[in-house]
Point group: D2
Chain length 160, copies 4
């Protein structure tokens, strides 16, 4: 099954003096994809904070930096949710460089830059205490079972 994915460009703001994306800034790309996954289900975080009054907080993150992204790269960030208990959701995420260094290669493996797993808690917007995930998130997570990374890869080979 193809997970949700979101495209984003690397700008100067993302790079550091080493000429590559600064290690903290990949977390911004990861969050954009989680936010857009939510939007793809019809929900904005600003609206959810008002009704039903929930916010989200990352409680832990594992991230592996395999290859660096560079200025002007177009990235594809995946986001595959799976429920973990009533008030926590986990996201398996990858960041790929669009296009590819080896255009004839079909599987896109050479494009994988970053792999991450983020655990996110659902909190009451007022009390900041744990709160049950809304049904639409649990359902969306359940409908996207955890799969091996190789199968979860999006089709990102495109004519540049």
């Amino acid at each position: 099954m193809i997970p949700f994915s979101w495209a984003s460009r690397v700008y100067w703001e993302d790079t550091d003096g080493g000429g590559i994306v600064y290690y903290a800034n990949y977390l911004r790309f990861l969050e954009r994809a989680r936010t857009e996954w939510l939007r793809s289900l019809g929900y904005s975080q600003r609206a959810l904070a008002e009704e039903p009054g929930i916010v989200f907080a990352v409680v832990s993150l594992n991230i592996e930096y395999r290859k660096p992204a560079k200025l002007d790269d177009e990235l594809v960030i995946t986001c595959q949710p799976h429920a973990e208990g009533a008030a926590t959701i986990a996201f398996a995420q990858q960041i790929y460089r669009k296009g590819g260094e080896v255009p004839g290669k079909a599987d896109g493996v050479h494009n994988l830059l970053v792999e991450a797993n983020a655990r996110v808690a659902c909190l009451d917007a007022r009390t900041l205490r744990p709160r049950r995930l809304p049904d639409f998130m649990t359902l969306a997570a359940d409908s996207r079972p955890r799969v091996a990374a190789a199968d979860a890869r999006p089709n990102i080979e495109e004519p540049s």
Copy 2:
């Protein structure tokens, strides 16, 4: 004449504890639009740094913060270049909030969040000394004469 414009979304990374976009982060949106203006002419900064070997540096910026942008806002950033001497180019830029607080209002004035003028120097990528702007930039700048802000406004009224 309608200037170049580029759309961008506000994410958590852009906001600060006041619930609005942090004042330095509008400069990131401004640069994304300048970079995309260049790309719309067929050039990436990474390629220009190699051939003909030029880079760009902002030498001064004036910015007025009229209204704040908030989480989930979709922004439209304009970019209107005009040449200033052989090695400097200036950009008149605005940031608008897409959609609008007053849907029936036709002219979009209520959406203007930020106005800025950026002066950018063209430098030799190796020596970092001033260098003549490439012709394609001077021509593109000349073809977009400085106009009053009211006339330069893009048509950004859209059904949300």
Copy 3:
């Protein structure tokens, strides 16, 4: 008169792919100095937001980038306030590189990297409408009259 100044280091997070501090990130250094000026008077912004219930918003900024700051540079950021009306305060600010490229030179002029003027509005924390500046800020601003940049320069020549 010597204006308030605050020292800060350049880290990887501040640089961009050009090997120098990203143009938006100087605004973070400028704000750190304004925040520390306030703290030097005995006030934190978190406390002021509660009592008397005020927050601050930058309404305009002019900034000139004279020389770039690089990784590991130690910066000195000045902050010289002057009142502008009842609800607005302006800050003349400079960013210097500590130490110096020309050690024998006494006046530190060669170290000036950035000059900026920021106008900041005082707002009611609840309604976000303009509100009178607290007396302690007006007094501190008045006691620090606007002077020529050359006189406002801090003594930043130090043995590295």
Copy 4:
């Protein structure tokens, strides 16, 4: 044994619309502490990139967000290195809030905000291929054996 630690303040730039430090920005604090640990040994990264010509890249990071940091908080970031092979070094790091919510409590446990483990590769600055860590780093790492988090805690209780 008390690990190396470094103090840093939370400014507006670090917070997000939730009123707390944005999850990616803790990684900036973690790196400041690693950079300052290196400086405490007498080395800057800018100098090391020239002679012996090495740079560092984070290859993986695990981070747990226990409690949020807020505007104006003064943080203490620890950095405890241990060598992992010839070309990789790992850092166990914590971020504490200085002072404390329970002033009479002696052990500071209530102040722990973030725990992280970062694996960092030593690379040739020119080829970006793995390279042996310089001796001074291996020695410093060896002299600071991995200990339980409870023992590694710095003494950060101070009169505010």
